[in-house]
Amino acid sequence: MSPLFATAALDEVDKLMKAGHYRQALSRLDSMPTGEKADPHYLFSHARALAATGQYMQAIAQYEVLLKRQPNLPEPYNNLALIYIQQGKPEQARAMLNKALLTHPGYARVYKNLTAINTARARDAYAKALQMPTANQVSGLQIADSLSLPVSTAKSTAPVVTATAESHIKPNMVYQAKNAPADTKKGLIARKERTTSKADTVVQSLLHNWARAWSTKNVEQYLHFYSDDYAPSGISHGVWAAQRRQRINRPKWIRVQLRNLTLTELGNDRLSVRLEQEYAADNYRDITRKEFVLQRLAGEWRIIRERGLGHIVR
């Protein structure tokens, strides 16, 4: 079967599911040739159909297969969260949504779902506090019904970054391992290639997404990149967050671009990133050098330090 043919079959499955005919969609999926069943779009549709027919264990397994191949897609995480909610596991659901945010912080649906889950939990807590009857239901959850992965690359297993994140990564980044001899440039490049799919890619796209959250004045997203107790120069996290909110909201528009990212491993799940930041807003612009230190906390990279290293005059 040609990829084109597979696409047509999956479109059909999609239509069936939109109409609510999940059992038919399942059998249509089953009838596809084995060779097509490794396709991310297939896996995604299959997992959705399984979940919709109450086969949660199988659905979870399918999403996990998909995530093993495409770890940076937000949609499987989002939909896994919905399954965990169905199973009455809000903690796991929240963990999934947080992972989705790390792959793609601008994913509005995930915010909506996080809000829905937290609201339901809050409602439950309030009901217990005031001795009210509990509804114990999460309302307003949104399932992701398509992958943010171009169909044409669906069969390829090489690129791991999402399309949106990748478009921000400039080619002039150098990976620098701390213990590697500085003069063996070849070694560095080899190392870079080996580790591209790991921490550095995640961290690079994360910082670009950080810049984008800032540029779009999305403060909730922006703050999410920092550790919960991030507190620079003696002020508390709460005060800092309030200040950031105020300052980010002040200009009419902001544009932040990052260049020349250099990553250094610090050990203990820590990374340092040096970069050039071009900041432009309606009332101010500058180019500065900056250093970030990120730490992996419970599987998520968060900024634990950020400092300016001086202006660059152009």
């Binding site: 609201t119 809050a122 807590a125 309030y126 909730e220 508390s236 309030a242 200040q243 909110r245």
Partner: protein
């Protein structure tokens, strides 16, 4: 702007940084001013030192007693206040698992969850609670009053080395004494140390008191009496309606002085809480002092009916060690002088210790004097020994004379009589002299 502050939530900031400021969310505007003042300044509203100090205090409380649910609640609120939302959530979730009937903890949990996407300016001030009915509204108000009372006690009561004037000596046969401060909805348990040293604070608890503030005067006035009382009995759970929880310790209200003043009513107890709830609102009883079941159960083995004193005050008088020693010395000296003068067989000297308002069972000062003069004529010698002396002071209030209750064992021996009794004296300070107001066995 209030809605710009995230995730400030509870405004403990203002209150912790300038410990004088009152409560929580009532100070939202103040806290907000604080925040705006330091926009750009590198000083925090909540100095790290204060935060660490408070956290380590709370950790110590939890180390002492894993069931100190209040300490756990405060920890979550402190984390919340400083924006450490995940820590706050973890703490409050553990708490609600340990104490599923602690309604206040659930309320704070709701607030912490909601604060992710909107500022929370007061406890339970949430869009999810906009359309609650009157009964639920009342419950919300009660929980707010409870958190306020609990916080007030924590923030305003930094006792340090201060000791209460109310407990001037426990006596050898009494290991603990209970002190209640109605103003702070707090019950303190003090332990005996050496004979001439102030007692040591063992623990303090949140308690609920009478629905109406003020000192009890009459039956049904819904007030908690103020004075020096003693536990008289233990009534177990199975002999009581549900609302008393694990059981009750009645106290001797109205005591001798209350009855003299014409106070009425009875049934003032220390008791537990209906099992559906961990705690009750601060002003909720008909005059009783109500503890969470878990706390009353913890205290039960320490309380001895007939012995354990319960001193109830609006506010205790807090002294440093030197002042405490001086107070104690003054009363001990008076007691010793009374004993000596009695032993001396000089009836005039002995009777000079009694107040003109004196009474005892079946006596006023006149009949008492006549009887004592008559008795002393038949004596060739008297030996009196006092031991197990305990001293408890009434709270000092303006325009009121200082009053203390003295309890001791009295071994009496004379040429024609022997006696061994436990006595209770009420002493009142009359100008510069202490005089006996009441004497009873």
């Amino acid at each position: 702007m209030i809605n710009r502050i995230w995730p400030k939530g509870f405004m403990l900031v203002a209150l912790v940084s300038s410990v004088s400021v009152a409560i929580y969310a009532a100070n939202f505007h103040q806290a907000e001013t604080l925040l705006s003042q330091q926009a750009g300044a590198a000083k925090s509203a909540l100095p790290e030192k204060n935060l660490q100090h408070l956290l380590s205090q709370l950790d110590n409380r939890l180390k002492q007693d894993r069931q100190d649910h209040e300490a756990s609640l405060f920890k979550a609120m402190l984390y919340f206040n400083t924006g450490a939302l995940q820590k706050a959530l973890r703490e409050i979730e553990q708490l609600t698992q340990r104490a599923p009937d602690f309604h206040l903890a659930h309320l704070v949990k709701g607030d912490i969850l909601m604060s992710r996407f909107r500022p929370v300016s007061d406890v339970g001030e949430s869009p999810l609670l906009q359309n609650i009915n009157a009964k639920e509204k009342q419950k919300l108000q009660q929980l707010r009053a409870e958190v306020e009372a609990r916080l007030k006690a924590m923030v305003e009561k930094e006792l340090g080395d201060k000791v209460p004037m109310q407990l001037l000596g426990l006596g050898k046969s009494t290991d603990i004494a209970i002190l209640v401060e109605k103003k702070y909805n707090r019950l303190y348990v003090y332990g005996r140390t050496s004979e001439h040293e102030p007692p040591r604070l063992i623990r303090d608890y949140y308690v609920s008191t009478g629905k109406k503030r003020g000192n009890k005067l009459s039956r049904g006035d819904l007030r908690t009496p103020e004075g020096v009382y003693f536990v008289t009995a233990w009534i177990p759970d199975k002999r009581l309606p549900d609302k008393y929880g694990v059981g009750a310790f009645p106290v001797n209200y109205p005591n001798e002085l209350d009855r003299k003043l014409g106070k009425t009513g009875n049934g003032i107890w220390l008791h537990g809480t209906d099992r559906g709830s961990y705690s009750r609102p601060p002003l909720d009883s008909e005059g009783c002092v109500v503890l969470p079941n878990i706390d009353l159960s913890g205290l039960k083995k320490e309380i001895i009916p007939g012995k354990t004193p319960v001193v109830i005050t609006e506010q205790a008088n807090w002294l440093d060690r030197a002042e405490w020693l001086q107070q104690r010395q003054e009363i001990m000296a008076e007691l010793e002088q009374w004993r000596k003068d009695w032993e001396s067989l000089d009836a005039d000297k002995y009777l000079s210790h009694y107040s003109s308002n004196f009474w005892a069972k079946g006596h006023d000062l006149r009949s008492w004097s006549a009887r004592k003069r008559f008795l002393s004529r038949s004596k060739t010698y008297q030996r009196i020994k006092l031991s197990d002396i305990a001293l408890f002071a009434y709270p000092l209030k303006d325009s009121q004379q200082a009053t203390v209750v003295v309890r001791f064992r009295q071994q009496y021996e004379s040429n024609n009589y022997h006696g061994d009794v436990h006595k209770r004296l009420y002493l009142r300070k009359d100008g510069l002299r202490w005089r006996i107001l009441y004497e009873g066995a």
